[in-house]
Point group: D2
Chain length 136, copies 4
């Protein structure tokens, strides 16, 4: 996918379908999180390691556009990139594809906070560097 160097696959679970016979739109929001976790595992030692250093990454925004329905048991590819890292804030962009077809696209916004106080805390240099290197 042009402009994306990372992707991870998800398989539509039966529990994620709804009575319209398609994957429920809230399931996509969970898949974005699965993709972020996979991204951080690849490039930054994993989200768990971020938490272990006393940080949480809160989700402050979600935008999704649904272009095609997704169905039970389909394998979808979630293309993921991180951008706009600034202070305590950063964003991810996503494209969700089924083979060559664009199924959905979106973005999420995040802020890093101290796990104890929940006050915003600058994205630490090691994490910023890891993301910058990943997206170079």
């Amino acid at each position: 996918m042009d402009g994306f160097s990372f992707s991870t696959d998800v398989r539509v679970r039966f529990a994620e379908t709804d009575a319209q016979g398609i994957a429920h739109h809230a399931a996509f929001v969970v898949w974005l999180e699965v993709a972020r976790v996979a991204y951080l595992e690849r490039f930054a030692g994993g989200y768990q390691s971020i938490r272990e250093r006393g940080l949480e990454a809160l989700t402050t925004g979600v935008e999704m556009r649904y272009l095609r329905a997704a169905y039970f048991d389909e394998t979808l590819t979630v293309w993921t990139r991180c951008r706009d890292l600034r202070g305590a804030r950063f964003r991810y962009d996503y494209r969700i594809t089924r083979d060559a077809e664009l199924v959905a696209e979106g973005s999420t916004s995040h802020a890093t906070v101290d796990r104890g106080t929940y006050r915003p805390i600058r994205v630490p240099a090691w994490l910023a560097d890891a993301i910058t290197a990943a997206e170079r």
Copy 2:
């Protein structure tokens, strides 16, 4: 809430919390749907009645901004209004409050389709009229 004449309450379920100790951001997307269903029940005979007339309302977009964390067992109010009804498309706006405090806000986009063919179909006049009357 200024500009909103309809609201419904949701209570944060324990299953909707996550290991950050707060309501997971995808749960909010489900609450918007709960609010739409309540809205349609109040003003348009219920979503089920729409389905029984051979229509589905697909969700084509979601936007959420999260301003405050929500916690287990809190009661949140989901203010809901429908707007921009045009052809087969319409949108909802939402504000989610806890007492006087704005917790999140967002919007969803929808398209009505034929339940059999999944082809776009103009929002029927009875539904458009019901929504227009509700939002007058």
Copy 3:
């Protein structure tokens, strides 16, 4: 419901349905938890108050039998009673009805633990007394 003095209602959410057109069986497990929370709110000051006293109630077992399908937007009644309170352990029984019809029944097993250490801790007297009074 014979043998049950407490119940709470749930409404089947669209997100809880699946591509079989019925409420997904895992949603029932969440509804049992919603009912436990309502039960504890009525009789024991709320689950949150239990957590605030340094306890968690872990779920150690679930049994469900599904007798009828449940559908989108239906209101179901979750009949709930607590029993077999012994040491750090207790159980709940449930019957889920739609009007006069039994839709599902089940039970859950629980153990109280210290929130800090996660070691089993005897159900405190105030909670045991509240439950005993509720079930008398």
Copy 4:
């Protein structure tokens, strides 16, 4: 795992955790379904192929015992076997492990029905044979 010849792995999603900091007990019920789908894919052409032949497999019962907590991002192995295939009914047994440790165990009961009428229908010979061969 003794007595089990099939397993599939699941990774605990952040959305599946709860405010106790562990995987929510209802998530396990979804993982059992993920395992059944993987089992049927391996041995019987996939659950989708069963649906395409006009059948649904309803879940008529769930039993789970939780022995250990599971945490975000852990990989769990869901050992799965099918048994007691009789008429329109069959059961699955499961053991969920983390490395050598038993985290949970359970079973689910199912009935095959006609997709159109939802009336019970004998498990077809091709499916019964496939399962018998798998479990031999």
